[in-house]
Symmetry: C2
Subunit: 223 residues, 2 copies
DNA sequence: TGTAATGTTTACCAACCGGTCAAATTATCA
DNA sequence: TGATAATTTGACCGGTTGGTAAACATTACA
């Protein structure tokens, strides 16, 4: 037989699992750093420590590799939002969501950049995931936030833009890492910037979402 | 003479100016959408409406085109931060900075994505700009913010992370536009999302930076 | 108007890139 | 062990890409 390629034989060989693991790890390294078009199969092969035809034995095409990687990573990536709990204390839930997202930016920056690259270039490969599972999950959690606001547990605000703000501020530390480092300077070599960021962001969002008697009317909104 | 190429002759021809303008416009379109490696000279040539060798007559290499584009756009891009005025009302200054950044995300999304692509992939072509002019400008404005905080005009906070938060939340609407649209759904076709974002962000930052008697001590910061 | 400088295009090249093929090597198991 | 299936690799292919050479066209200007 010439084309087992994972799908054909139900039972996966030990070697198959190991090699596919190796390849996806290397693919994550390369795709997250250069984007889909900017990456070459040779690069991935070199990082994975195997020959190009060998990669193509496990994944028929470059696109197949990318898709497998996206599928594998997307679930994990959305976990923090899934944990968002309607029953919990609203402010505490938002705080811990921020903390979890920031931890992911620190511990899984490549995953963050993989999606950032993809979305930035128009999401040509993950449009369905965005309009499907992602939107549904966000809709669900936005409804939770809206309920909290109506119940007076947090300040009234647009839940979608709140989620966008949490995404952008936290993922910024993964996606724009070189810029953050450049601006903060060399002395900020360790992970200290993540702790500073956590302090700042938790305070910003918590104070910003506190229910207020006179909701900053002196800065009333014009067009 | 065969190689005038702008630099050699001091006086620029009318044609030179027009064509270089055309090329950089096309380059912005293509580079911002696909990143440096993902873009081809042929693509840019087609958008610019001229032949590939003709492009290379004005810019010797693909890198030269990219560099010229970056140089041209970076100045404009930093204008909103430059306008940040130490003498003004602190909260008003921050609000109008947010507004200006959001307007830029709406009106110049390609410029935003150009830099996002670049930084995301490790800023291989603009490292010097980040560590030089950008850092100096941010250092200067961070000092202004720190002064305001010390004077009790705004809440005490890390000025660098405040700036990062404003950058990330506003640029998010340009860089991750497809994701924002996907999550908000089709009904949000116009520019309404920018107005909603402005309302949300101005309120978030203004309320979050309000000086407080008891600075949210009940959510005291742990590690 | 003539001519030298400037601008444009066609044809082309070498390197690279995604992917194939067939032969060789290794693992599996009756 | 031997035969069969699974895995790996070197050689190769067609298309693309960044860039060049040189002939051709146009403009500026004395």
């Amino acid at each position: 037989m010439v084309l087992p390629r994972a799908a054909k034989t139900q039972r996966r060989t030990r070697i198959q699992e190991e090699k596919e693991e190796q390849i996806l790890e290397a693919a994550l390294e390369v795709f997250s750093a250069h984007g889909f078009r900017g990456s070459t199969i040779d690069q991935i092969a070199e990082v994975a420590g195997m020959s190009k035809p060998n990669l193509l034995y496990y994944f028929r095409t470059k696109e197949a590799m990318h898709r497998a990687l996206i599928d594998r990573v997307l679930d994990t990536w959305l976990d923090p939002l899934r944990e968002f709990n309607a029953e919990g204390n609203p402010v505490a839930e938002i705080r811990s969501y921020i903390r979890r997202k920031l931890e992911m930016a620190r511990d899984f920056p490549r995953e963050s950049r993989l999606f950032a690259n993809e979305v930035l270039q128009g999401a040509p490969h993950i449009e369905d995931e965005l309009k499907g599972p992602l939107k549904e999950l966000v809709d669900e959690k936005a409804e939770v936030i809206r309920t909290w606001a109506k119940a007076g547990k947090i300040a009234k605000c647009d839940p979608y833009h709140l989620i966008f703000a949490i995404w952008s501020t936290t993922q910024h530390y993964a996606d724009f890492d070189v810029q953050v480092r450049a601006v903060l300077g060399q002395e900020n070599a360790g992970d200290g910037r993540f702790e500073d960021a956590a302090r700042f962001l938790e305070r910003l969002f918590v104070d910003g979402l506190q229910v207020r008697e006179q909701p900053s009317s002196e800065y009333g909104l014009e067009g």
